[in-house]
Chain length 335, copies 2
């Protein structure tokens, strides 16, 4: 624990229910190997850890989300699994001919959800890697999920040597498409750069620490610790930019500019270099607003027509939070 | 041209036939994108460049070796194409049920070869990328192919800011398995680090320069330039090392150690860290000889049970070379 700032009396503590069931998922994309090997390592240690100490049972489920794609070391077999968790996809009809991932998403929804129901697990942490130079990102669909935001604050405090950022995809719950939306709370833990199909020790270790600190936070929260509030920088996705492409073949005709490559979360200003064509010409950013680029040159996004995404940064005031139904006990520890 | 050292009189010039037909191949592995986009760019510029100036025609053929894998952005569809050029595979029977790459290898052998015959193209330069931090490597099957070694010397001179190395896989011609063995001379131009399925501007530009300098060298050679001899460091492959694996599942149980990762061609000494297990333990190199590691943590080699390769470094004295059958003209330029 790094520091224990004193909770100020005027801080209003938002009380939230205990998080009894947490899921840690890897291999949602079968070639993002840090999560695959971390989940396998956790499964080896314990198929299901049930922590009964301090009268606060915490059940941690670990699973490989897409076993078939993981076995083949591919992102997916038929369809990107992490786009199959919209309500429309989860509750649509399936048959033997449905894509593997659509069927698997419904299975995962039965195991961890149902999405949006009281039976859903309390928290899903879905592990991802990116080829982009993004450090560790907590990716959620909200800038007002205090659980996710406080976990983010905890990771940032506990991993001071790491770039840790909070990304908000402002999409409504029903339309939100990723596995982590099946839980009552959920986020993607995205770490890079790491080529797909590769596990790098430094990235694996960062992810392992990230998961340990996340679970540590949940245990502290469940045991009654109150976490102080404070401001958080949130990057909210605004738009994405595709590669320049040949109008006939649809092949890309330029790569991300060397001055932009690996500069995720460094402000991109109007007229900054954006692409370098394969014949050597520089193409510039013609947007009117300075924005923060991320997922720059992510391998899996070529087929999605995304060369990079752009976000606006704003500050969100996160309230102090504690566990509901035992407030007096909750104040015994303050973080 | 960087320097024009005077050819010493005692240098014996080895005279070799002109290189009239050169092939530049990309997409032998369909997800190694620098070569794919460079070849497409060259094809766009000229389907086939025929250079008739100075009475020295040079025909440069550019092609995508594995169009189906390139289209799917995969290394291969059925089998690694760059292992299909042994004599046994090239001259074995095929049917409609043969793997796509076996058939494609025979097609390429008909276009660029036949391997080992007088009809084969004079030089094949096959473009590759690696996730390993290897800089630019000329990979050949010989430490006495003076054409390849002199091209390597030219690249090293012309690209002083780049790490350029010469790798020798000591395998006999018939058993040599890669596309570049179809030509009378041939080498792989391997550049990294670049994740597969990604094109990075810096790596693309390095490859483009490498190919330009290679073709420039061929034109100089054909026009009668004599290239001085000198010593070359050659890395000859000695052995490879697999990841530690679970004896039952065969899953890897460790990643390359963070102190070894990205340290390709830095001497690995007995007892140096080699792997870090997923539970955090350091495993050390137990070899008796200090050797040079390369292809450290190459994505495509997980399935080949190779975590890294090891090479011995030795110095080869490359003779001065010039074009045969016009020696007096050959001496008019000296490099």
């Amino acid at each position: 624990m790094m520091s224990l700032p004193v909770l100020r009396e005027m801080d209003k503590v938002v009380c939230l229910p205990r998080l009894s069931r947490v899921a840690v998922c890897g291999g949602t994309h079968g070639n993002e190997l840090s999560g695959v090997y971390l989940v396998r390592e956790m499964l080896k240690a314990n198929k299901k850890v049930t922590d009964k100490d301090e009268d606060n049972s915490l059940s941690v489920t670990t699973l490989i989300s897409n076993p078939l794609a993981t076995q083949q070391c591919r992102r997916y077999v038929s369809r990107d699994l992490n786009r199959c968790f919209t309500n429309a996809s989860l509750y649509g009809p399936v048959s033997d001919e449905s894509p593997y991932e659509v069927i698997r998403a419904q299975e995962l929804n039965a195991t961890l959800g149902p999405k949006g129901s009281p039976e859903a697990v309390d928290l899903v942490c879905d592990l991802h890697n990116t080829t982009s130079c993004m450090g560790l990102c907590v990716i959620a669909y909200s800038d007002s999920d205090w659980i996710c935001l406080q976990i983010f604050r905890h990771l940032k405090r506990q991993m001071p040597d790491m770039q840790v950022r909070y990304l908000n995809y402002a999409i409504s719950g029903q339309e939100a498409y990723s596995l982590d939306t099946v839980g009552k709370h959920g986020f993607g833990m995205e770490i890079g750069p790491q080529p797909h199909g590769v596990v790098r020790s430094n990235i694996y270790t960062t992810m392992k620490l990230g998961v340990q600190h996340m679970l540590e936070w949940v245990r502290l929260f469940n045991s009654g610790t109150v976490f102080e509030g404070g401001p958080v920088d949130v990057f909210t996705v605004v738009q994405n930019i595709d590669y320049p492409r040949d109008p006939e073949t649809h092949d890309i005709t330029a790569a991300v500019h060397p001055q932009l490559q690996d500069r995720d979360f460094c402000l991109l200003r109007p007229d900054d270099p954006l692409f370098q064509t394969f014949s050597g010409e520089t193409l510039r950013y013609h947007g009117e607003e300075s924005l923060y680029p991320f997922f720059i040159n992510e391998s899996a996004y070529y087929e999605k027509n995304i060369a990079l995404l752009l976000a606006r940064k704003h500050s969100v005031m996160v309230p102090a939070i504690g566990r509901s139904r035992s407030t007096e006990e909750g104040h015994k520890n303050m973080i």
